[in-house]
Point group: none
Chain length 203, copies 4
Amino acid sequence: MLDSAGQPDVGAGKRGRPRSEQSHAAVLRATSELLHEVGLRSMTTEEIAARSGVSKATIYKWWPNKYAVAVEAFLSEMMAESHDPHTGSAATDLRIVLRGLVNFYTESNGRVFAELIGEAQFDPAVRTELHKHLMISHRDLVKTVWARGVATGQFRADIDPDDAIDVLIGPLLYRRLLGQPHLDGTAADTLVDVTMRGLSVRL
Amino acid sequence: MLDSAGQPDVGAGKRGRPRSEQSHAAVLRATSELLHEVGLRSMTTEEIAARSGVSKATIYKWWPNKYAVAVEAFLSEMMAESHDPHTGSAATDLRIVLRGLVNFYTESNGRVFAELIGEAQFDPAVRTELHKHLMISHRDLVKTVWARGVATGQFRADIDPDDAIDVLIGPLLYRRLLGQPHLDGTAADTLVDVTMRGLSVRL
Amino acid sequence: MLDSAGQPDVGAGKRGRPRSEQSHAAVLRATSELLHEVGLRSMTTEEIAARSGVSKATIYKWWPNKYAVAVEAFLSEMMAESHDPHTGSAATDLRIVLRGLVNFYTESNGRVFAELIGEAQFDPAVRTELHKHLMISHRDLVKTVWARGVATGQFRADIDPDDAIDVLIGPLLYRRLLGQPHLDGTAADTLVDVTMRGLSVRL
Amino acid sequence: MLDSAGQPDVGAGKRGRPRSEQSHAAVLRATSELLHEVGLRSMTTEEIAARSGVSKATIYKWWPNKYAVAVEAFLSEMMAESHDPHTGSAATDLRIVLRGLVNFYTESNGRVFAELIGEAQFDPAVRTELHKHLMISHRDLVKTVWARGVATGQFRADIDPDDAIDVLIGPLLYRRLLGQPHLDGTAADTLVDVTMRGLSVRL
DNA sequence: CAATAATCGAGACGGTACGTCTTGTCTTGGC
DNA sequence: GCCAAGACAAGACGTACCGTCTCGATTATTG
């Protein structure tokens, strides 16, 4: 018989009670709320359990600690990605895309994001996950626009795209994480502009 | 932090037993060791007390928590600052100075530094102290060289020096805190070079 | 015994798959082993399930908790009962029978037995089961011999047999459960002897 | 005024904050209450902490687990001991003293006592403590009366006092721990009477 | 030199989160 | 319908660290 759900899988039956997707989702939702309400550090596993109605044991069964839960919760909440604007001018596209990133860093999400980066300095797993699932998608977006600019001759072709991205995103993140003058849209535009033009006097 | 230079024998002296400079120093020394051995997070106040021979109560009398101790210990240990090289070429100077920063970020100190930045995402006091005593001195060094380059016509005069510094330091720190391809001297040189020349094709 | 391992195709009786006698036996066997290896308290339901290959759900379907399983496992293992010796002298018979009990209390089984009595102080069901299936058979054995001694005029006829048994068994069990000088065969003989003769000086 | 320096103390000064007798007492009091309200097994360390206002950490600092606390709480509450009645007749004294024990086993305390004995079957420390502090004082009381009876010629001189005590107390405790017909004063009197007279027919 | 005051080392304490463990129930799919 | 596998809720366990709080012992200034 066929399963109406049309599972494309191997069908080699999994035995035992399947993992409750409901619990899984409830944990992520509760964690997301707590991340915004009290922050990464003050959020406790106990509270996640209480609010989600999922037992602590179950949480620890699927995640090694609250930081892993936080990363997954944060990422799963961010499926609304900014997309490539395609205005015709690669420079304009770049500015729009980077503005999008700045918004992301700055919003309510931004605090959580900063805290996760903070935690990543202590926990390699957080660092890896964050990089793999978040930074890479951010970078890929910039990379696409960058490639277009190179193709149209607007951006320099002799630069490693990864380096280009580092010099574009780096200053923005630096301001976000350590800057005393806080990051906003205008500041971001200025920084991007400076980076595009370069610091040296043109010969 | 208070100005501790004016400590002894000022006329209207304080009554009671004076603060033990010996204890103060012992705490900082022990903290420094622990920072390198086990890291900021795993280091406990209790262990600082045990190792320094100073009681916990005394530590809490002079610092609000272990992070404050860590910041002071870290800063007090870093008196060996890189200085302005003055080679004649501002571009070369800049490269040398930034290499010095990268070394700092990368060394044994670098891990502690990264952890402190991580902690700063949760604790505003750490952020403030770090900025005030560390970032500013780093930035000032770059700023001096930058000003010289502007004066000699090598660097653009129409850029806010703070912005210039952000775009120079930002990518380096970004690589250090989040980069999967780790930061080293060569990578730093490349990034600085890209930043100096700019991303746009010059007309 | 019936061959219950045979195919369940008899048709008569209940619908559905019948209870697996094999599982039943496996649970008791595994429990018995665990009782001796780790003791009543440290033995877990999970471990019984794992070792017997019977699922926890099945165990809980047939027994209310691990203590009930333990009682049944313990009792089912003890079919090798001491029997009435019938030497001719009731006094000798009594001594032999009580020695048998002491051996039982003292052997490897003895620890499990003591733990079950311990558990009985918390769980009335354990107490009841233990009493019904174990203590009564022990007492019955003594009672038979006692009756013979009364009939032959060796033992006092004016004593309630149950009281007689209490004063005979009580001291032995007391030593087993709480005595610092541990119970052994010689000690048992002495206690029985004292009880038989009485504590008062004979008039 | 007294010279504070002239303390006639033990000298070896205790350093640090002294143990809080108040906390100690509060823990024992709360534990006592809980023992009577919910029993040994259902009582939790957490609840002791909550009710006494003493933190769990402090409890675990001074006792290895809740059973140790329970033993101490139980014992400390029982300083009101039954005393030697000294009526003139050793037999009467014995009966009174044993009645006292039976009352103890039977009262509200009795359930806790039985549970502690139950627990002692699993935990050697409980067994030792119970024996050392409770059983011995019980036995000593009986032993005193016994010695008097021997001296006055009422009780047999050729019996080891410890054996005598075992055969007197054993049956009572046996009834308490396992007897289906529960222990009461009359039953106790009967058992003692039987033990005193002995089971054998006197020649 | 005595009184006053603030400091110090030691370590007990309340609070709170941690991550683990066990119990007994529930949910799959296979037989 | 029975069962093995195994996920799940509930909640106690004992540990760890934090920051506060006694103690009694020092060590200065001040009268």
